[in-house]
Symmetry: C2
């Protein structure tokens, strides 16, 4: 059988632009954006790293864009100059997505923060890419509607689309993949595409929307997002339940999914995570493996769901089932989960979190978490397990000193073994954090050489000069 | 701003292969597939048309493939010979998808009908592309699970993925876009890609799954499909309700969605459609605009949903609310909806149905249906409206004599005006039937020139020789 390898992007991609090329481009951009183009050390430093352990790589300059037209102008000029462009939202990503590995221009979209149109009657909204999820939900307050995707961080909606984000509510409402109706995207040559109409479903042409969701700024820059909205449920209740061991908690989560209970959230924290949260927040839950639940629906529906889940929990030895019915109690309960990240960091000042992101078919979750926790026994740094277990997704949080090569090497090795385990169990190396610079080397093992070759073809088609966030998603050739 | 048009596919695409090239290819394929390669007139005739009014275009030969390996062999050989290849499932498509516009080989996948693996514990299943949706649901009978996407026709799951099909259950369970987890696809050069792992969510690399869903055999041939499954609901009930006029029925549908009632099905039939069904099935419902509902959930949940919807219906003048609670009654009730197609055809022997497929944001549905029905007043052939109104999707069924140029011209004009109206209201020209040969000319108006150019780029990347179902999806240059 004849095989035709798909062309890789222009090898120029890996060449850092000359300082002359950058200076000329900066001057050109200033002609249009004025002092919204900056080369200050602090701006460059801030825009070169995200919230992860990955080392920062500052861009040569930062542009604060205010409109799709400006992004188009920037990309067109950058392409002519062959200078890399890296989109930046809130900087909350976790796989080094914003690092300017080859220098270039960081395009900060955070000032594109207009809610363009709320269409309550269609249950949709159009926002500029820099609007954050909390900003959106605050703006929706009087409509009775909300946007459910919640990755924890105060991320921008453009960034969440670009990384195919999800989080605690995905088990019920889906991820960004399911909740984006349409995008406005600027292509590498400055042309602007609207990827779809506002119809809820369509079989008209190739799915350009999903082509850009999860492409991490490597195929185009998202400047506007149209999203699905949902009615705020008539009733919401939350509960927390302690288990004698991890297996019992995970078994409860698996049975909940297999019984078809439409839980809105189902979060697992192991004993290490619970201890960190207790020390940080002063909460009084037992420091044993724990599930946090949230139920959405009518009064009757919520009660039914909770009853079913409680029975499953009890059957697995769960105890201390604690309810939170009103909004304040719920907020207190979820605070424990939401502050985990900072609770963990507080345990070891100066340390950073290396977060893994395995996602497996639900029946393999107990095995995957169990083997992984075994694997981390006796490591020299704190390691907690937590996750969105309803999706088969969990994170190990390794609290490492990023300056310590031995800890980095150990974390890298544990992550590597976890990813091999995940792929063996039919899962993915990244449930929701994306690939960035941290995971591109695992793409061939997960997708196969032909699929990665096809992804390279898509990259070459959409970014022939290789200026869009180079060094991300695709592994080096 | 500089603009770089993306390359179009090789113009060879529009060249019909010589009879020598076809004969040589047929001989080569027979060496491997034996008498599963046929050039009989009846086989060729059957494979050149679908269930629509579109004229048939028989292929030069038909291959019955049994495995992904065989499809790979066929594509590799056809590419070397520059002979078009058109995938064929059940032939139930509606926009001329299977017509061999430039001759070539029809690859019939219907004998690839193995259910590869049911994984009840993960709520997923892998099937070969030729398995039909009813065949799958029969096989699932003892598992307590089902696959919800139901386009009405007994389509193959490969064909449903290839056309991004949906149907009556989509309002609750989504379309093929949301329900396919992973695909096995043969590329135009014979290489085989698995598009994703079995994880429920992933942010690992570009979304190859969605790239092929809805690509109608123009980017690759789908040979295996991994699908989400759902627990059969504890309670199911159905109801039918008559309305004084179309506006009242549609208003009820809109309010049901806006209230967030998770209806499993919500189907509209206008007075013309109801009359056709009554004449055909002998059912006794009033021949006025009607909504058919189905509710899935727990006993309590189903009762709650029905109560809410019934109140909305009554508020809009609905009457004759009729319940069907057990399976037999439900089947009888839905028979009226499901037999619409044949009921309509029975009204005019020899006629064919031209089905439109508008889908608009839900708030625009009343206006879109209203203007469209106005537009069809006084046409010379029967015209009925029905649809999946919960998604904003409806069909006009024009019962035309396909041999009568005047009727064809009138239907074409009505369809054209409907599509312009749909696009003006923010909708799509195809909610679920796909583009095929019938709607490619509307792509630029719906998506814009740049988006269509990008789609041409995807086609050129994946099918540089233009052998995959040429003449479909993309408009002629």
């Amino acid at each position: 059988m004849s095989v035709r390898p798909i062309l890789a992007p222009d090898p120029q991609v890996s060449l850092r632009p000359t300082s002359e090329a950058v200076a000329a481009l900066v001057e050109l951009l200033r002609g249009r954006l004025g002092d919204r183009v900056t080369t200050s050390v602090s701006d460059r430093h801030t825009h070169g790293h995200d919230e992860s352990w990955h080392p920062g790589h500052p861009p040569d300059a930062v542009c604060y864009a205010l409109s799709t037209d400006e992004v188009s102008f920037i990309l067109s000029a950058a392409r002519d100059a062959r200078v890399p462009v890296i989109p930046y939202g809130a900087g909350s990503s976790l796989e080094g997505h914003v690092a300017a590995l080859h220098g270039g221009i960081s395009v900060d979209l955070s000032r594109m923060d207009k809610i363009v149109k709320v269409r309550a009657e269609d249950l949709d909204v159009t926002v500029q890419a820099g609007v954050t999820r909390q900003q959106l939900n605050i703006a929706l307050r009087d409509t009775g509607l909300f946007f459910p995707v919640d990755p924890g961080a105060e991320a921008t909606l453009g960034g969440m689309a670009a990384t195919r984000a999800s989080g605690t509510n995905a088990v019920r409402y889906g991820t960004m993949r399911e909740n984006v109706i349409s995008l406005t995207v600027v292509l590498s040559d400055g042309r602007v595409v609207r990827t779809a109409s506002r119809a809820r479903k369509s079989s008209s042409g190739y799915d350009l929307t999903r082509l850009f969701i999860g492409s991490e700024g490597t195929l185009g820059i998202i400047t506007e997002v149209t999203l699905r909205l949902y009615g705020i449920p008539e009733a919401v209740s939350a509960a927390v339940c302690s288990f004698p061991d991890t297996e019992a908690a995970i078994r409860t989560a698996i049975e909940t999914i297999q019984c078809g209970v439409p839980v809105a959230r189902m979060e697992f924290l192991d004993d290490v995570a619970m201890r960190a949260v207790r020390d940080f927040t002063g909460m009084t839950h037992a420091c044993t493996p724990t599930l946090f639940f949230e139920f959405h629906g009518s009064d009757g529906g919520v009660a039914e769901q909770a009853e079913t889940v409680q029975a499953l929990a009890v059957g697995n030895g769960g105890s201390g089932w604690h309810w939170a019915k009103d909004a304040d109690e719920r907020a207190a309960l979820w605070r424990a989960r939401h502050e985990f990240h900072y609770a963990m960091l507080a345990q070891r000042p100066g340390a950073r979190i290396w977060g893994t992101d395995a996602c497996v078919p639900i029946s393999a979750l107990a095995e995957c978490i169990g083997e992984t926790r075994q694997d981390t026994q006796g490591v020299s740094f704190p390691a907690a397990a937590l996750g969105h277990v309803g999706d088969g997704n969990f994170h190990m949080s390794f609290l490492i000193d990023p300056e310590d090569p031995a800890e980095l090497a150990q974390a890298r090795e544990l992550n590597e073994r976890l990813i091999q385990r995940t792929l063996r169990l039919g899962g993915t190396c990244s449930g929701e954090h994306g690939i960035g610079m941290g995971k591109s080397k695992y793409l061939p093992a997960e997708h196969g050489v032909t699929a990665v070759d096809l992804m390279r073809g898509l990259k070459a088609l959409l970014d022939p000069e290789g200026i869009l966030n180079p060094g991300k998603v695709l592994p080096p050739l």
